[in-house]
Amino acid sequence: MSGQREIGAGINVMEFAEPITGRTIFLDSPDQVLDFIMSDDVESSIVISRGGTTTFVAPALTAGVRGLMTLQGAPESHLGILSREYGIPCVMSVTFTEGVETSRGEIIPADGTLVTLDIATTPRGRVLIDDGADNG
């Protein structure tokens, strides 16, 4: 993955030989989840949620998001278990080194950032963006 730099890392739930790429969206409320699944971008999006519980993002799972990242949780968390069952790539408890601040001061990529999830191995999964790309 030359030409890319790491902007975050976390716990990879399951190994996928090929990396996946998609644009991020941070979902912070049930209303945002419900609006998101009505959009045209579901299958090309990598959703970021705060917790590792599964029900919060339930509609996004059934709608078929491309990938998931969480700020909390582990593969044993309910969302870790469900992402495995769906076969949706998921990296949990991601710590980002650059991005924008949420209302609670967490650092995450700005919505719409094109990221690549390097999920070839466990337990570590990496979040990459193109060198030179703006993530703020």
Binding site: T55, T62, E76
Partner: protein, 434 residues
Amino acid sequence: MADDEDLQPYLELYQKSVPAGLAGERRMRELITPPFMDLTSENVLRDDIALEEYNAWRAYMGWSLWDVIAARSTEGESGLIPRQEYETISFLQIWSLYPQLMSEITEAVGIDGVIEIGRTPRREIGTKINLAHTWSPQNCCHLGRSIALEFGLETPDSRRGELQTAVQFARRLAFGTWGEGAAFASGRGYKAPLLEDDMVEMLIANEQRLDDPAQRQIFRQFNATTELMGYLLHYDCRFGVQDTGPYPVPGGGFMIVRDHWLNETSYPWATPAEGLPYCVTEAMIFRPDADVEITINDLGTTFSEPRDYLQHLSGVAVFARDTEDTPMSGLRLLDIDDMVEITKKSKAATLALYRTLASKDRDQKIRDGIYVYAADHIRPHAKAAGLWDTMQPRIAELTDLALAGWGPLADGDAASVLGPLFVKGLAYSPLKNG
């Protein structure tokens, strides 16, 4: 209990010294005397257990709780359901009520009757009398008592004997499930092949091969979608899903048997699930061409190495138990078209249920979640004893203890209470004489 100490070292090793899994189980057995985590036909019958026996149980269960829950305890908050809030308050509700309810069940059916109830998962699929419902209730009692002590709502000497009631109730159920020996899957190599041979043979005999990739994908969607529905219906707790196994399959390979509860009509919010079966059971048959290590924990959750176990799926037999009272002779075998239809309905029900939950106010969601925990942990046993209808109103009303904890736990303390409880073994420190 709510302290600022870094929990990370406690996540890596139990009490910073004992590992998870098989190595940890072996280490706990070296440390614990007498081995009261093991069941004998003599020690499950006694109402009185010696302090050293009880403390041995506490020592093992502290590790067991950590082994099952510690990693999950980091999952943090849900933007939909105030889960840590309802979970902590429900522990108080359960501790208030369960020892008495367990005594009433035992009085109604006798000790042998409790053991017989515990035998149910050997002969039935789609039953909530299962691993999680044996392991978890007595844990909730200990956790509830620990919170009550922390908040000064009880004293260390109060109701001590009732803890033993909860422990013996669990041990008798486990004796029915397992027979003599270790009370939990952790003591049996993290394997739980509970079903008797005739049920296993029936499931294998109904295998539908999934050689067609399209059919495999249909099943994968069915499995995931119904599992998600089970989680949502049960307010993001694991009572909507349960695994047993692995069972060896003739000719090589193994089978995992998984229940997903889709239509638990005892919950008022279950109306979007109307038309779905009460439970679907997936007998998943794997014939891997490489080693796949399967473990099943005491909440009935399967983990594997490598993690994508479903890539090795060879065939399935899927059954619907249409109502809670459907007998095993009335199980309905589902074909691929049925799975497509149930997936479609489950997706729609999940979205409808999500909208319903999202529209509820926070306090109501906490009350609903408390009800899930307080009802579901004992309803299967109470129903089997014919006592559920008399117990349900008592469970539905919040007890004084739960109400006393509501303020701090609903308003911010839940997360800081729950983490150390799960991770540091605080609910299971040894009791002293007196």
